[in-house]
């Protein structure tokens, strides 16, 4: 397994947000984490990369327990994270944003150069010196993914990559994710949009109120309309 999460519990202050979250991601697999706003998708990702201070449970990445490590070490181990709100550095140019993400090569993961990324996201190549704050939402979403890929991750957590994007851009996003998969990057993608998830993922988990309430292939999910309608919107 690329990534195994077991009994993950997280708190924000007094609020218990995640309850015994557990899921697995295989080598080269794309797994969707589905659920509504506030279901706990982002908190799950943030907990995995160590951005939630109060968490417990086991997080095995490439066979090593990373649950006690600080964020930057987890990321340096090759676990990339693309946050929901994009969080690009608006004062920095495209090139500089990519520079922040840069890490050394990794033997077990594809190596991404600026040129390769500009081929994957042609829009970015045309605006190398533009400050991040003067880009459209879609361009920012591409930049934030490219920035994480600069770290040559072997697995990427993608938090709601289609959020707020026009269908056209979402289709480009689908292509980019499939390319990443083809290159050998394992991906966990959190989504509210089932159809988008269906286009890219091998398997899916559904999270509702901080608990995993379904896990299986996309076909298995389609066989359970009750679950689908109860927990997913749109």
């Amino acid at each position: 397994m690329k990534l195994t999460v077991q009994d993950l519990n997280s708190h924000y202050g007094p609020a218990h947000i995640l309850f015994d979250i557990g899921f697995e991601v295989g080598e080269g697999e794309v797994v969707a984490l589905l659920g509504r706003n506030g279901a706990g998708k982002s908190t799950t990702f943030r907990s995995i990369v160590g951005l939630v201070a109060q968490r417990s449970g086991r997080i095995m990445f490439e066979g090593k327990d990373v649950s006690a490590k600080p964020t930057h070490e987890i990321v340096r181990d090759g676990l990339g994270y693309v946050p929901e709100e994009r969080r690009i550095f608006t004062d920095l140019t495209v090139e500089e944003n990519l520079e922040v993400g840069k890490q050394s090569k990794r033997p077990n993961a594809p190596h991404w150069t600026r040129e390769k990324l500009f081929a994957l996201f042609p829009n970015l190549g045309e605006m190398k010196n533009r400050p991040g704050g003067r880009m459209s939402g879609g361009e920012q979403q591409m930049l934030t993914i490219a920035r994480t890929l600069m770290g040559n991750p072997s697995l990427v957590l993608l938090d709601e990559p289609s959020e707020g994007l026009s269908p056209k851009i979402v289709e480009q996003m689908v292509d980019a994710i499939l390319t990443m998969k083809k290159e050998g990057v394992s991906i966990v993608v959190s989504e509210q949009n089932l159809h988008f998830a269906r286009l890219i993922s091998d398997r899916a988990y559904i999270i509702e109120r901080g608990r995993i309430c379904f896990g299986g292939t996309m076909a298995e999910l389609d066989a359970r309309p009750d679950i689908r309608d109860a927990h997913l919107s749109l």
């Binding site: 509504r36 919107s233 749109l234």
Partner: protein, 263 residues
């Protein structure tokens, strides 16, 4: 044609940032007791539009009139005094105060007692605060610290606070965002019921189409800063342009929802 001005009349609202038009010539109106949904993709200008209605943001041109009175250029607090209550996408409440105290602050403001230095606030309009909390089903939570509330309860509290000045118009920015499915339905039913009883106009933005199609009397659709459609839920649902830019053509959205599946 009625002579009396509509509750809310928006005319040619325009705003641009750094050369980019966020909102372009948006016009619509809202009657008392009517529930109007404002939908559209992220970045379509909904928030900008909303902020111009409540005074957070000043339009470059255009007019907003409340019962015929101009509100453009007024501060949020002045617009509130004209009878506009609002709730936020991410709740804004007074976390260190109790639920009742949250409502009391609004009542104090409404009663123009803000600079009363020696009165007793804990006893200020306690019954009215209780009544408002009962109205939104929060009566049992009055003494709880607001910081401890679940998100759905905070939303209901915000509604109670928004009702404290007996508003004519409620502006609700994604009222059900971040709530569980059941809570969403309950909150919007409650809002609709109160709005109809008290003849309050409601304008809300929302991403949950279930909520929109079930509760809105009318829907307006914003895309790239302009109004592209307006009409009843059924009309908007079947509008091909709206489907193209927002509801989707089937690739990204369930067919059932496109037809407005009920909850």
């Amino acid at each position: 044609m009625s002579v009396a001005p509509p509750l809310l009349a928006v005319e040619g609202l325009t705003k641009s940032y750094g050369g980019i038009h966020a909102v372009r010539g948006v016009s619509f109106s809202l009657r008392a007791g009517e529930i109007l949904a404002l939908i559209g993709p992220n970045g379509a200008g909904k928030s900008t539009c909303f902020d111009m209605l409540n005074g957070q943001n000043k339009p470059d041109s255009g007019h907003v009139r409340l019962l015929g009175e101009e509100t453009t250029g007024k501060k949020p607090r002045e617009i509130w005094r004209m009878g506009v209550g609002r709730t936020f996408q991410i709740t804004a409440t007074f976390a260190t105060m109790t639920v009742r105290e949250n409502v009391q602050v609004a009542l104090i403001s409404h009663g123009k007692q803000l600079f009363n230095l020696f009165g007793s606030a804990p006893n200020f309009d306690r019954s009215e605060a209780g009544r408002l909390l009962e109205l939104v089903g929060m009566g049992g939570y009055a003494d709880r610290p607001c910081g401890e509330l679940a998100y759905g309860d905070l939303k209901r509290l915000e509604l109670a606070v928004a009702l404290a000045n007996e508003p004519k118009l409620l502006l609700m920015d994604e009222p059900t965002a971040g709530m569980a499915p059941r809570e969403r339905v309950d909150l919007m039913r409650l809002t609709a019921q109160i709005a109809r009883e008290k003849s309050i106009g409601v304008l809300f933005t929302e991403h949950d189409m279930d909520v929109v199609f079930e509760h809105a009397d009318r829907i307006i659709v914003l895309n790239r800063g302009t109004l592209i459609a307006e009409g009843s839920p059924a009309e908007v649902r079947s509008n091909p342009q709206v489907q193209a830019v927002y509801l989707g053509e089937g690739l990204l959205y369930e067919a059932g929802h496109r037809e407005g599946a009920s909850t």
